[in-house]
């Protein structure tokens, strides 16, 4: 069945059949002695919770770079988060000119342009309108971008793929707001603009705005974090991160795209013939094994659960397949319910490692019938300079000493 294709392709490392049918396992934990009976009171109640002092999980960002940290990225520790919701404090960041400090008492959203009735809404007024809560991922289109040129064997899942996060977002459908403003039904584009220093702006097709776009103020049950656009951001389910404009201050209804810097010179995909694809909004189906992954060490013979996340900007994940024998065979992983549209989907796969070199990977299929391709197939079509929108299969190489490294570099 699907194995025939996989065998014929040998897509990641060109590995021979000698590496097939490996059984693999995770590192075992040493047991620690039980704690003494508590004889002292614990801490009192507190107004706002914080995590245990023993937990150190953090976003990763490169501090030794010429890129100013105000326009840098920080990446979600995908290997150290569980389930499908990313804690707000660990949601990835990508700013273009720093995080502005906006007062919700004075910040407003202005809707104007091709509307019968331009309107300014306060944050409080938006909160009075009929609301919706939806669980959606946001992924930066530059996520996994280093892999176009082979990536680094030293890299791990956080550094390669940490520009995706998933939250429950609460807000108002943009369609509600546009209708209240008497939008011109023939208008085709809406410019969304932030109140950050660079006034980050993207032109969005009207169809998306009327379909499922939202102006959100809530994230995981509380107000948006400043890094995520407090007090208001645009949410375009399944579309590349930077189009979900943070610190949203303005929506202008237009009949053409503004051709802003971020939709011409940036976030466009350069092809081998020198042309560039523009307005590449949807994020295609993608999955990654997040644990164990690059940097982890396996122990032969011990039980090990492979787990990871899958997502698609075009609908719902319907299946995730795992190979632990370098693509010779694929078997279905279990999907954790609920499986939600345009959301991270958690998958699991029980496993044991037999101590031999191998490659493990996941691939997903979404509700449109599209299956995540090998990175080599994407490179065949798009070359190595497209920089953005890499949804290719992530291969993890397992060495005979159990060490896992990035296996995309053949």
């Amino acid at each position: 069945m699907q194995n025939e294709r996989s065998r014929s392709r040998r897509w990641f490392l060109g590995l021979g059949a000698a590496w097939s049918a490996a059984l693999v396992a995770c590192q075992s934990k040493t047991a620690s002695p039980p704690p003494a009976e508590p004889r002292a009171l614990g801490a009192a109640v507190s107004p706002y919770g914080s995590r245990s002092k023993f937990e150190k999980t953090a976003r990763y960002f490169n501090q030794n770079t010429k890129v100013p940290l105000e326009e840098a990225s920080s990446r979600t520790p995908l290997h150290e988060t569980y389930g499908i919701i990313t804690p707000s404090s660990l949601h990835f960041e990508r700013h273009h000119s720093g995080v502005p400090e906006l007062d919700p008492a004075t910040h407003t959203l202005t809707i104007h342009g091709l509307v019968g009735r331009p309107l300014v809404f306060s944050v409080d007024e938006l909160k009075q309108l009929p609301s919706k809560s939806r669980i959606h991922f946001i992924e930066c289109s530059g996520n996994s971008g280093g892999e176009w040129r082979g990536g680094s064997t030293e890299s791990d899942v956080q550094r390669i793929h940490g520009l995706t996060s998933c939250s429950e977002w609460t807000g108002v459908p943009v369609s509600t707001l546009l209708r209240e403003c008497g939008v011109d039904p023939k208008a085709t584009w809406v410019l969304a603009e932030g109140a950050d220093a660079s006034k980050h702006d993207r032109s969005i097709p009207m169809k998306k705005m009327m379909d499922d776009a939202m102006v959100v103020y809530g994230q995981n049950g509380e107000p948006l974090r400043p890094e995520q656009g407090y007090p208001l951001r645009l949410l375009l389910p399944g579309w590349e991160g930077n189009s979900n404009v943070k610190w949203l201050r303005r929506l202008k209804v237009m009949n053409e795209p503004a051709m802003s810097r971020e939709e011409t010179s940036k976030y466009t995909d350069l092809m081998p013939d020198g042309s560039a694809r523009q307005f590449t909004f949807e994020l295609e189906a993608k999955s990654i094994i997040t644990r164990p992954s690059g940097g982890d060490t396996l122990v032969a013979g011990a039980f090990c659960e492979l787990t990871g996340i899958a997502w698609t900007g075009r609908g719902t994940i319907v299946s995730v397949e795992i190979t632990t024998d370098a693509g010779a065979t694929w078997a279905k992983a279990e999907l954790q319910t609920p499986v939600l549209p345009i959301a991270h989907t958690r998958f699991r796969f029980p496993w044991k490692w037999d101590g031999k070199d191998t490659v493990m990977a996941s691939r997903c299929t979404d509700s449109t019938g599209y299956t995540q391709p090998p990175l080599t197939e994407l490179i065949t079509v798009r070359g190595m300079n497209s920089q953005y929108h890499n949804n290719g299969i992530q291969a993890w190489k397992v060495a005979s000493d159990g060490k896992i490294t990035n296996g995309n570099r053949a």
């Binding site: 202005t110 331009p118 309107l119 011409t264 299956t371 079509v381």
Partner: protein, 198 residues
Amino acid sequence: MATARKRLLRVAQGVGLALLVAQGFPKVAQDFSPAVLAQSPTFGVGHAPNPALLQQIDIDVTPDGKGLLPGSGTAAKGKDVYTRRCETCHGPTGTEGPQEILAGGKGSLATPKPQKTVGSYWPYATTLWDYINRAMPFDHPSTLTPDEVYSAAAYVLFLNGVVGEQDVLNEATLPKIQMPNRNGFVTDPRPDTPIKRK
């Protein structure tokens, strides 16, 4: 929940906007200014923008030049603006960095080492004006006068050989500039991988 349902019922029964505003949204009801005419018809929130404030934030510029502010500049004048406000990040000739490379890269897009500069990649001169005006200099955005923006844009275009040193850029001339990569962009054709694996 129950209150919300009651509100909806009232609307459905045609009790109307006045009651909805008065009972459902007391903050608005207390403020019956002339702006109420511009409020959203269904929910009675929002107000008409103050024209002066709207003008302040309505900064975008489209390829036809709509949105450009009155003013003018030349590359000759722009050299001074560039040296004072741009050179630290972009280098003496726009090719040195340490930040974004602005000039050069002509003919490099289809090679293994493409250089995406204003001259080699950007399709519209209006985008350059807009971006300098909205976001540059990086640490002091929106501090250049319109004349300085025209001049800085002219200088960057001059470094790329797109305009001459004395060419005057203004609301009329800037949108007419034909950028070298104007026709370099195509729309998204994905999915583009050869096999859809059912």
